[in-house]
Symmetry: C2
Subunit: 176 residues, 2 copies
Amino acid sequence: MAHRLIADVVDAGDTAVDATIGNGHDTLFLAGLVGPSGHVIGFDIQEQAIEQTRNRLGEAESVKLHLDSHGNMESYLAGEVKAVMFNLGYLPGGDQKIITVPDSTLSALKTATEHLSIHGVVTIVAYIGHEGGSDEALQVDQWAEALCADHYSVVRYEFTNRKNKAPYLIGIQRLA
Amino acid sequence: MAHRLIADVVDAGDTAVDATIGNGHDTLFLAGLVGPSGHVIGFDIQEQAIEQTRNRLGEAESVKLHLDSHGNMESYLAGEVKAVMFNLGYLPGGDQKIITVPDSTLSALKTATEHLSIHGVVTIVAYIGHEGGSDEALQVDQWAEALCADHYSVVRYEFTNRKNKAPYLIGIQRLA
């Protein structure tokens, strides 16, 4: 569903951000959408994530991967971006103690929404099964609910008949 | 979004149900998807809704409109259906006192999910701005959350940064 929201708005030549590279799945997806004339900027604080993804991408010059927190995203963005993807929590298959945390996540979300071009989309997949996950998700929810409805549309997609651990998706589109 | 969920699964020749004809918007949409070889079965308790929609449809033999409550849907369904659409609340432009109510809505939802073919989808747009709306929506939510996760996937789509009156969507897909 996150990919669907993103694919609806991202065109060849656009700039898109993977705020949490992780296994690189979203980075590759974004690189495919923006093509060689576009730009993908990725962030992860784990060397493992950057290396794995670099290997997968090959020599895609359109993609820049930064070994840095998404909390510092502001320093790397020059202009508008069409899409920013967040996968909160820990790196699948990695150290489950290394998780995204509310302070840097909220800072990155603020930067992401401010840099969003009109019709641009931010997606956030929030996991609540790990320690700290539900607190982070709650803070993200509250931040998103407070976004001005004249400028942003915020939609929450949630599986309601599963156990509590099912992740949910928040999609934010810039309207004006 | 409801149309998108439905269009993903409904093919020409399928049977689909408009549980709440209202202004006929969804009836026409379903008739277009199933085509002349398919079937659309519609329900509304207001003559006005049936007449307006019959006029819009013209001579589409694939569509049967019933002046009856969706609560009696069971009597009209012979086999499996691929999609069932619900728009709760009152008829736009009609008498705002005539609203869907929990008893018949829940009865219709039960019938709809039981008759759903594998991969089939039920959509429910729940309005909470009118009197009784939020109570009905709550009952629908609780019913949907209790559906067995092995057989049904239940997703709730909700605008979170608008005022309380924004409608939300529940999409139910039969998995097995």
